[in-house]
Structure formats: C-alpha cells, structure tokens
Assembly symmetry: C2
Homo-oligomer: 213 residues x 2
Amino acid sequence: MSRISGPTVRRLSHYYRVLQEVALEGRRMVSSQMLADREGITSAQVRKDLSSFGSFGRRGLGYPIDHLRTEIRTILGLDRRWTVAVVGAGHIGSALLAYTGFEQQGFDIVAVFDSEDSRVGQVIDGRTVRPVSEIAGSEGWDMGVIATPVRAAQDVDDALVAAVVRGILNFAPRKLKVPEWVALRTVDMTMEFESLSFALSQPRPGKRRRERT
Amino acid sequence: MSRISGPTVRRLSHYYRVLQEVALEGRRMVSSQMLADREGITSAQVRKDLSSFGSFGRRGLGYPIDHLRTEIRTILGLDRRWTVAVVGAGHIGSALLAYTGFEQQGFDIVAVFDSEDSRVGQVIDGRTVRPVSEIAGSEGWDMGVIATPVRAAQDVDDALVAAVVRGILNFAPRKLKVPEWVALRTVDMTMEFESLSFALSQPRPGKRRRERT
DNA sequence: TCCTCCTCGTGAAACCGTTCACAAGGAGGG
DNA sequence: CCCTCCTTGTGAACGGTTTCACGAGGAGGA
C-alpha cells in the first residue's frame, strides 16, 4: 500500500455499495468480473484497485463478500464516526440535514451555522442553527461542509480551517484555498450543468467514452 | 479541435468564471499565468486547454478578456438556452428550483415531477409538481435531473431516456445505465464524504497532492 | 492422482493528460 | 530601425493510470 490514487478511492466507494447489493442477493463470493460489470469498468481495474490494499480474493473463487466489505469499510475509515459541521442552512444545507443516509454511514452532523438572522435559532431536523460568528470560537469537528452563497465561501473556509477541521466539502462554485493538511472536495453543480451543455453541443453528442462522473 | 478531454471541459467552466471576475476588475487582457494562479494550475495547462479550440491569445499580451469569454461561452454551449426537467421534489430538487443561477446561465427548469401524492400539485417556485407517470408521455427536454431516492433512480433514468433527453444529471448514489447517445454526469455526495473519510484516515492526512475536486 | 476449468495477482505495455522548454510573434523605448 | 521584454502556441518529455496477458493457486470430477 504505497500511494492510492483518487480514482481508486472513488471506485472503492462504489465497490462498497455494490457489495451491499450482492450480499442481499444471497451470494457469498463475487468475482472481479461481476463487480466490474456492475460498475461498467474492466475486471483488471477491480483487481488492481483491491490488490493495492492486500490480497482479499481466492484464485478460482473470487472475493468473499462479507470479508471484502469489512476490509473496504476499514480502508475508507467507515469503521468509526466522524463529526461534521454544516455552514449554510439554505436548501443544500437543509437537504444534508434531512438525509439520514450520512448518519448511517458514520457522519454525524453536530453543528449548523448560518449568517442570516432569520435562520439563526431555528431548529432544523433537531439541530439549532447558530450564527456563523460562533464558528471561530469552536473546534473539534472532523469535517466542515460549505453550503453558502459563493461570496461567503472563502471566509467560511478560513473559519473552518481555523476551527481545525481536517476535511472540507465545498458546494460553492469556487476554488478555495486550504492549507496542505486539509483535504478539500468540491461539488460544483454549475460546472456539471455546463459540462452537459458542452456534451450536448458536440457534433456527435454522447460519443464521449470514459466519463469521470 | 480533435477530441476534448473531460478535465479540459471542467477547467473551461472555471476559466469562464474567473474571466467574469477579472472583467469586473477593469482589465482588458489576461495572461495564462494570471488565469493559472487563480485556478491553482500551471500556465502551460491553461494555454494547452485554450489552444485545443483555437488561437485566442496574442503573444506578448495575453488573452483579450471579453473575446475569450465569448468564445468559451460558445464552446460550452452557453450561448443558447436548454430546457431541463427535474425529477424529485425533495430537498435537492427544491434547491435546484430555488437557485436562480442556473436560469441565468441558460438552463430553464420547465418541468418538475415527483412520485409522492402529497407533493404532486404543489407549486414550487412557480412550477407545479406533476406525477412521475407523466414523464413517459412527454418529451422535448434537453436534459433531465434525477433527484430521487436511490431505489427509484434507474426507473426514472429509463423514463427520461424514453423522453429523449440527451443529458442526465444524477444525484442518486448509483451507476445508471444510459444509451451511448445520452451524456450522464453523477454527483455522488456519499462518495465525496467517503473520500474525505479515507483522506482523514491516512497516516499523513492532507499530504495528498493533486485533488480532482 | 490427474486433468480441466475458473479467477486472482501482477509485471509489462499502452494510453492519456500534464509539464517542460523553446521558437516565434508582437509592443514599446531609444 | 534595433534591441529588449513579454507571452503565446506547441512538439517532446514525463508521469501516472488503465488495460493486457499470463503465471499460479485452488476446486471439482473422473
């Protein structure tokens, strides 16, 4: 396990979910080929990905589903719980608070902030919205989510970094600056729409091969 | 302009936004170096990206901001309007309906569907929610957005494909099957969280270089 | 036991995107 | 006009990821 590429980690998440599915189908073993088919990738890719963490399979048989799931769970760090602070109680923020799936996966949203006076004090899905000014004095969260308008994003980002979060998930369509010890992921819906717009504008739309969805 | 890579298109979206910024700062020309600095990439990358569509710059001077913006606008297909159908009027769907930025960029959400009887008939931001069963009979949208629970995603996907959309933006954490003439983009928040979880679980968190955010 | 069939693990090759490095174009000052 | 400075556009080198292809392990039947 020298160094793991970003794409590999993403696929690990997918494998994890596919394993859940096939487990429900009553299987005990699954081949790299079957995993590959459900993901639309090659079996060699699956084997390479998994082999970078260890030898989980048995030649001639495939991978034992339960064991592989446990392994991936550990690799992804889902065998523990993470605390998350959400900044921005608008539509996106509220959607995150309402979605119970994250909690099931080990992500506990323990704090919610907003700059709008009208939202501060409101209780959304059991959490009381606090003013963004309180981010500064707090700390101890593992991750922060930025679900604010773009103009506020960099300030919130700085505040979260000051509150020593180690990971940030950003929904604002802007490149944020973080120190190298903070992991940053950006979900930019505007960019996704524009990417679709580009694809549809091409002479042969849909002729694009590999998608990095 | 032979074949454009996915990463290049994404960066084009970024350039487009940065150009907006620098235009507001009163500049007329911008160098690849300046664009690169704001994006955190190399100037060679910027020049390569742009040169795959034509020669927009002037040696010694840089790129004329207004002209470049117009060019990128055309390349991305933002010089026309696109019709979009949103399926799923939950939190994500509502967030999209509420966000006026998409309309400003040329994306008109002209239809909203939901399977819940309680939501059907509701008016959200000016659009009346219709039952998903009506997707089948309709057609004529450019794009479809899937903002439903994961269990409904593939059915909705099939319905949208039948309604001859040419692009789909999927928020459900599952790999969808589409014919090769339909462009598919997936925004998988669960995967982003898990990717952060992995990064934070590493011995040297944050020591990851290039991020594909 | 031997033979066949299946599937993993993995070095090597192929492929693709990024970075380097430099020739060439263009502006401006003297 | 010449010299200097700046920045583009691009072939070549580089680095990293994906795919190929095959050796090896293991099950099962005869």
